[in-house]
Symmetry: C2
Subunit: 591 residues, 2 copies
């Protein structure tokens, strides 16, 4: 039980509503309670402020022995998490100290493929001091928020202590789950898909470097209800789409607390259109769902990261509202996906009956073996097999397109962010000054003592006030239109960030099939297995094409919709200003 002074190893920014304490690297704090658990300790800074700080952030003089808090097996968790934290702290400090966009899909996965021009643009946001400054203005710019100089992954502990009470059972399943949830969990908060993919592939000893064979060469394919048919639609291969599309509403965030109120959390109410019965989930549950979906479908279907935990707002309400909005966006996208929305784990999340049902379902989902590339074993295309050359062409085309779109999306985000800053910063200030200048001149005129002055002075004052109103309109506008344009593009940025992994699996499979003859020659595989590989590669290609077609149709809908919304609001905006000015104009007279 050690307390006393400690030095901080990293910056840590408190997440609103969690009784956390913001501290700077090198700052000295006094530990007031080392027994919080979950990798947290309570500390007091020089200004006397008390709050929770992640244990790992504190210089270790001697290992802090953490007394298990009630119902929490901290030490195990602690040891589980620290390695991944270390890794991420070594790998990601730079990429993660970027804006939340950057963070939202980890360090730019494209950079692995080739230099990403717009990667730089993202950095601009964070490096730009104005970014935060705008936060002070009428409409704070959520796009300007940056993860505060330490890896997202470090935020892991914020919730992890709360995982455990429900995760002991998982731990006991030994083997991969632990390290996976540990690393995966920690990584996911940074949304580094490459890593999570690796996890999915590593899961099966001996295949760590050769993911695709696991499926290409496996003896028997899945049977029964798990099957995922692919039909030939007008646009080519398509998933099976249900008549009624699943949908849900994320709403009514409620604050709960635990650990004697020392740590609080938000619970969201999710109501699916199927049962119309609300279920409650906390962020960590979404996180759990995300990891399940990623493990199960990640090789075939890009599963976008959850909204970043680091979404920050000046006020807690703002922060909660923002996160909820993004969780809603994420859920909507998952609901819209015919395969994901139809999956058992997703249905469980949306419509579990009670705690028991939930826990049983969770346990089952975590034991699911049809994960990683094995998902392809459930896919059944109705069409005839494709030639490997054609498969490769398709794959190349998709990878080119997704890369190009990623650049385009990033450009819009950069430009939009700049525009947001101008609209909430210098521009309204200028209109305000114009308004003031008119009003000042008006009050000078009032002092003229000349008769018949009032018409002009009243008009001039009105004109001045009008420009002050315009200043207000300008400052508030981004929240009304630019906001959604940014949210949508940010969501697509995250989604596009998943394709390199998904496509990577296919490239690996293509390469393996190319080696076919050599493998036969060296009798690594039988001629029959070579045929099977080619057939299964064709299946993978149908899956990828179905997914791309799904992506395209959604993209076309989403961009039509967001542009309609954006332009609609823009029109209103300019019309309102014109009308105000028309009224101001009517007051001047030169008879």
């Amino acid at each position: 039980m050690c307390t006393g002074k400690r030095t901080l190893l990293y910056d840590f920014t408190a997440e609103p509503g969690n009784n956390e304490l913001t501290v700077k690297e090198g700052e000295t704090i006094t530990i007031t309670n080392p027994n919080i658990g979950g990798g947290w300790i309570e500390a007091q800074n020089s200004r006397g402020e008390i709050g929770l700080v992640p244990e790992d952030y504190i210089e270790v003089k001697q290992k802090i022995a953490v007394a298990p808090a009630p119902s929490v097996g901290n030490t195990s968790v602690y040891s589980v998490f620290s390695p991944s934290r270390l890794v991420s702290s070594l790998f990601f400090p730079v990429s993660f100290s970027h804006s939340l966009f950057q963070a939202s899909n980890g360090n730019d996965p494209w950079s692995v493929w080739n230099a990403d021009p717009s990667g730089g643009s993202s950095n601009n946001w964070a490096s730009n001091p104005e970014g935060t400054q705008t936060g002070k203005s009428a409409a704070p710019d959520p796009w300007a928020s940056v993860s505060h100089g330490h890896p997202q992954a470090y935020q892991g502990p914020a919730d992890d202590d709360e995982w455990d009470d429900e995760w002991d059972d998982v731990k006991s399943t030994g083997g991969y789950a632990e390290s996976e949830t540990g690393e995966g969990g920690a990584m996911q908060r940074g949304g580094a898909h490459a890593t999570s993919m690796k996890i999915a592939l590593n899961k099966f000893p001996g295949f760590s470097k050769s993911g695709p064979e696991l499926y290409l060469l496996c003896k028997q394919l899945a049977k029964g209800k798990d099957r995922l048919p692919i039909y030939m639609g007008e646009v080519g291969p398509v998933w099976f789409y249900p008549e009624t599309q699943l949908d849900c509403v994320v709403a009514d965030p409620k604050k709960g607390s635990k650990m004697y109120g020392l740590k609080s959390y938000i619970e969201y109410q999710i109501t699916p259109n199927t049962t119309n019965r609300p279920v409650n989930h906390r962020y960590k549950h979404f996180d759990w769902l995300y990891e399940r979906l990623l493990d199960k479908f990640g090789s075939a279907i890009p599963i976008p990261s959850l909204p970043d935990k680091q979404v920050t707002g000046r006020f807690e309400e703002e922060f909660i509202k923002m996160r909820m909005e993004r969780l809603q966006g994420w859920m909507t996208r998952m609901c819209r996906h015919p395969v994901v929305s139809n999956s058992e784990v997703f249905q469980l999340f949306l419509s579990y009956k009670d705690e028991k049902d939930w826990k049983t379902g969770k346990r089952k989902a975590e034991k699911d073996e049809t994960v990683g590339v094995m998902i392809f074993s459930t896919i059944e295309p109705e069409a005839s097999d494709l030639d490997p050359v054609e498969v490769e062409q398709k794959c190349e085309q998709f990878s080119r397109f997704t890369k190009a779109m990623d650049d385009g999306v990033k450009e819009i985000l950069t430009v939009g962010h700049e525009h947001w800053k101008r609209c909430t910063g210098p521009l309204p200030k200028e209109y305000q000054r114009i308004g003031k200048a008119f009003q000042n001149l008006s009050s000078v005129f009032t002092s003229s003592g000349y008769q018949g002055e009032s018409t002009l002075t009243d008009a001039l004052t009105a004109a001045g006030k009008t420009y002050e109103e315009i200043a207000q309109l300008v400052a508030e506008q981004p929240r009304k239109d630019l906001h959604f344009l940014m949210e949508t593009n940010n969501e697509y940025k995250g989604l596009l960030g998943c394709f390199p992994d998904t496509i990577g699996v296919h490239k690996a499979a293509i390469d393996k099939v190319k080696e076919g003859d050599k493998l036969v020659a060296t009798s690594k595989i039988t001629p029959q297995e070579k045929v099977t590989m080619a057939k299964r590669l064709s299946t993978m290609s149908y899956a990828l094409q179905a997914e791309m077609n799904h992506f395209h149709s959604n993209r076309i809908y989403d961009y039509n919709r967001v542009m309609q919304l954006y332009l609609e609001e823009q029109v209103k905006f300019y019309e309102t200003i014109a009308e105000k000015l028309r009224q101001a104009h009517s007051q001047f007279t030169t008879m």
Copy 2:
């Protein structure tokens, strides 16, 4: 006859269309022709460019002997002008190196009274580097133009050589005219009214320091047609206003040249609504008129400076257009003034029949003795005499108001200038980038190979183009509205800059009258003269009130009009944008 290399003592910026050569202090040039005359020499710079440079700007190794150019008595002129140039170069480099506003009414006359807060604001403009930068953008900002680091007065030579051919006669009238036109002429280009006032008062030996007495104590007042009646109107004392208001159109600038085409000049066509017969005048003629009006009416009526010679534009056409516009503004204001417009010299300027008529009229005007404070001797108020206390109160009130309005006007100019820069600089660039971002994304989408893409991509491209059009609109808008708001306020800034002098004369008179008893006691004046002084002070006060009432009625009209114009254009601007966006919106669809 000396040629060869010379070093420049000051920067000199060529005035467009005058075959002048821009040179920098310290630069070495080669004199290619020292015999241009009029204080000019022809020189070649290191880049081989040849043009005219003022002789005085060049380091004097040995006095350059100037051979009289045909029809030009240069040496005499030269000697006449150089002293004043020297004076101004010593006194004004700082104040004149400000923006053209600053220059247009010389070094802030208010500063003599008390520290002028907004004086600083004017300086900002010049000191602001962006100022010039905007010159490069779509709509160059005339407000950003600054006199290029050397006193305005130095520009004198640019026209002075052309004065002489018509001024030899004046010179021959000996005495004051020479030094006056010399000093006054040079000073006037800087518009330093304090100085010009002094000139008017200095004109009569012995009264140099006691201007007002000249009138307060003069033996007999002017008779006949010169008289200026003052009536009591609704608003108080008013000048006599003619039924039909004089007006004129300044148009059709034509380029002329002289000295074998080495020096060119612009001739404007002025057509008064009275004769409807156009007369031609060059800038120097306006300048001559200005000086006559200033001498004659300056004590009673603020005569605004001519538009600054240094108005610069990127292109000659722009420069000429701008100067013409401002000469028009100046003439309109003079035409609107019942006293000025009715004066003989003004009528001469507008409607001389031929060269002979013009020259005779000029000579007469220059011999006019009813100048300076003597103008009051022609004023005849119909109302009864005012009490000196009341006179002082009125005077104080006017001086407070004009000072306050000067501040208000300067504020609008500062703010307007900032806004101009934003609208022509960063803002359109941003809209352009938004437009590009949309178009880029559109072209990425086109490459999707997915069918049914075109509706979105067409709409997205159209939206992108729309924002590029908006960028254009934004950049061009200031020329359509802000320009006139700025011009009007700039004009008023110049006008207000004259009041300290006009009011100063009154304050001097008031003080003198206050000394009345003392002067009688010390028998400097007779009791009768004391009574006369009070009576004449009352006359001066009526003149001042009439002038203030004239100013107020014009001001109310001008500001109503310019605000109407400004807001009208602003409304159009925002409506146009709204309409464009509405069209862009209509192309998106989410069926």
